[in-house]
């Protein structure tokens, strides 16, 4: 169980959050198949630091950008999508 320092709620156990995966930008609805399916399926799957999205579903219900090391599970900076609300 990790501790995630939620910028709204403070230190919370990771089971309050739902992991959303690495951040992938949504291409426009007129994209070609290759671009769209890259968005749907292809992932960098980094072994190291990555910025990923977590959803504080059992807390403030805000989506957060979380820096995490995927090998050590160390957590860096946590910022809410769109700033602190």
């Amino acid at each position: 169980m990790l501790v995630i320092l939620c910028p709204h709620c403070g230190p919370r156990n990771s089971d309050e959050f739902s992991f959303q995966g690495e951040i992938v930008a949504r291409p426009g609805p007129a994209s070609d198949q290759e671009t769209w399916r890259d968005y749907l399926y292809m992932r960098d799957n980094v072994a190291g630091w990555q910025t990923e999205r977590w959803f504080h579903v059992s807390g403030c219900r805000r989506f957060l950008n979380v820096e995490r090391h995927t090998v050590t599970n160390e957590i860096g900076v946590v910022t809410p999508v769109g700033g602190v609300q």
Binding site: S14, S18, E22, Y41, N45, A47, T70
Partner: protein, 418 residues
């Protein structure tokens, strides 16, 4: 394999009398400057591929490079369950070939892999999961696979420790029963393939890490390793959890997310559970080994990670679920928990086939099903490497399906309400 090295009861007896050691199962070799085929990953998949390349296709100038020791990854960390009762025709056909190979593996490899066909039982706790069980059974029957839906009474007679009473939350309404399913000694499969491949001339390089892949005009040219460069025209990526990282060396991006899958074992007790018992709704599977330990598995961890340290939540959640199924074993003790890495794909199907880089093949994306597919994947990949194109058994599992939008239908099963 020469006669002297062959395993047999007679050999055991003779060596017992003379107290002499068996010959080495595999040897250390210097790294050659070039190999016809370099297989990355010394697990069941990599070693089986090497073995079938040598045995079925006469390709013996093969190196298996393994960064740690053989079987150190998923092959030595799984719960060693073998079955073929998959939902889709292509899935069940594929795994059925694997079960068939497993049934003859001991004789084939002259290494007893201890395949115990104790039967495999998947419990249904709701009418929607019962419907999915029926679906699987019907598809399986059409493939000639022994698979049927059974009721609580039969379940109780096969596994008396299961609580089939009128439970409030997870009543046992029925089960998918698959008699040919069972458990194998996973390490033995790794060692059996390694020994048999080595006897045919394959080089197994343990402690040898792939560090890079040189691609020249769209073709594989060099495999760089921690012990030196290897000139080669063919590299096969059999690295499970690390698949994305190896593919990236060749400039290939994969639809894979690496997630830990945890397992645990208890202290041994006398035999009381014969079949393998699985509950999808409770994310739990249980079997008892010949040594008397219960081996437990669960679903993948809630977040992506390359960590194999394991979590307390796995242990507590697992215990809760296991006791929901078998309340009588609360005083048994968990002895050890561990984790392996799974390369999860969006449709829960493997990725097995060529890639945009010529000579770079992948045998990855096995998610939580890799071990049971080892023999058939090895056989199929060897055939693909030898012929330059995938055979019919693995055709549905190519990398291109993610761009073509023809995902495998196992996703259908996984997403049907449990």
């Amino acid at each position: 394999m020469n006669q002297k090295a062959r395993f047999s009861a007679w050999g055991l007896f003779k060596r017992g009398l003379t107290r002499s050691h068996w010959p080495r199962v595999w040897d250390h070799h210097e790294l050659r400057d070039s190999y016809d085929v370099v297989i990355v990953g010394g697990g069941v998949h990599g070693l089986a591929t090497a073995y079938y390349l040598a045995r079925n296709h006469g390709i013996t100038n093969v190196a298996v490079v393994e960064k740690s020791y053989i079987g150190s990854g998923g092959s030595g960390r799984n719960t060693a369950i073998v079955r073929s009762n998959y939902l889709t025709p292509e899935g069940s056909k594929f795994y059925d070939r694997s079960v068939e190979l497993y049934e003859h593996l001991a004789a084939d490899l002259n290494f007893n892999v201890m395949f115990e066909q104790r039967g495999h039982m998947t419990l249904a706790h709701s009418d929607s999961s019962l419907r999915t069980m029926r679906w699987r059974a019907e598809v399986n029957k059409l493939q000639g696979i022994d698979s049927s839906v059974i009721g609580p009474e039969e379940i109780k007679s096969l596994a008396p420790f299961l609580d089939t009473s009128d439970h409030p939350r997870y009543p046992i309404l029925g089960a998918l029963w698959h008699p040919p399913g069972g458990i194998v000694r996973h390490d033995a499969v790794v060692w059996g393939y390694a020994r048999a491949a080595a006897a045919l001339g394959v080089h197994i390089h343990q402690g040898t890490e792939l560090t890079g892949i040189e691609v020249e005009s769209g073709r594989v040219a060099v495999a760089q390793t921690s012990r030196g460069d290897i000139a080669t025209s063919t590299i096969v990526n059999c690295t499970a959890g690390w698949a994305s990282l190896v593919a990236k060396m060749a400039g290939v991006r994969l639809p894979i997310i690496t997630r830990p899958l945890q397992a645990a074992v208890t202290e041994p007790v006398r035999q009381f559970l014969h079949p393998v018992v699985v509950s999808g709704s409770l994310h739990t599977y249980v079997s008892q080994t010949a040594r008397g330990e219960l081996v437990f598995g669960a679903s993948v961890d809630p977040f992506a990670s390359y960590s194999t340290r394991g979590s307390l939540e796995f242990a507590t959640g697992l215990a809760t679920h296991v006791l929901e199924l078998m309340p009588a074993i609360s005083k048994m003790r968990m002895l050890r928990q561990w984790a392996g890495l799974c390369d999860m794909t969006p449709d829960f199907g493997p990725i097995i086939g060529p890639t945009p880089v010529d000579g770079f093949y992948v045998d990855v994306g096995w998610g939580t099903y890799g071990f049971k597919a080892g023999p058939v994947a090895g056989e199929s990949v060897a055939e693909m490497v030898a012929n330059g194109r995938p055979g019919s058994l693995i055709e549905p599992f190519g990398l291109e399906r993610f761009h073509a939008g023809t995902l495998t239908a196992e996703k259908g099963a996984a997403a049907v309400g449990h």
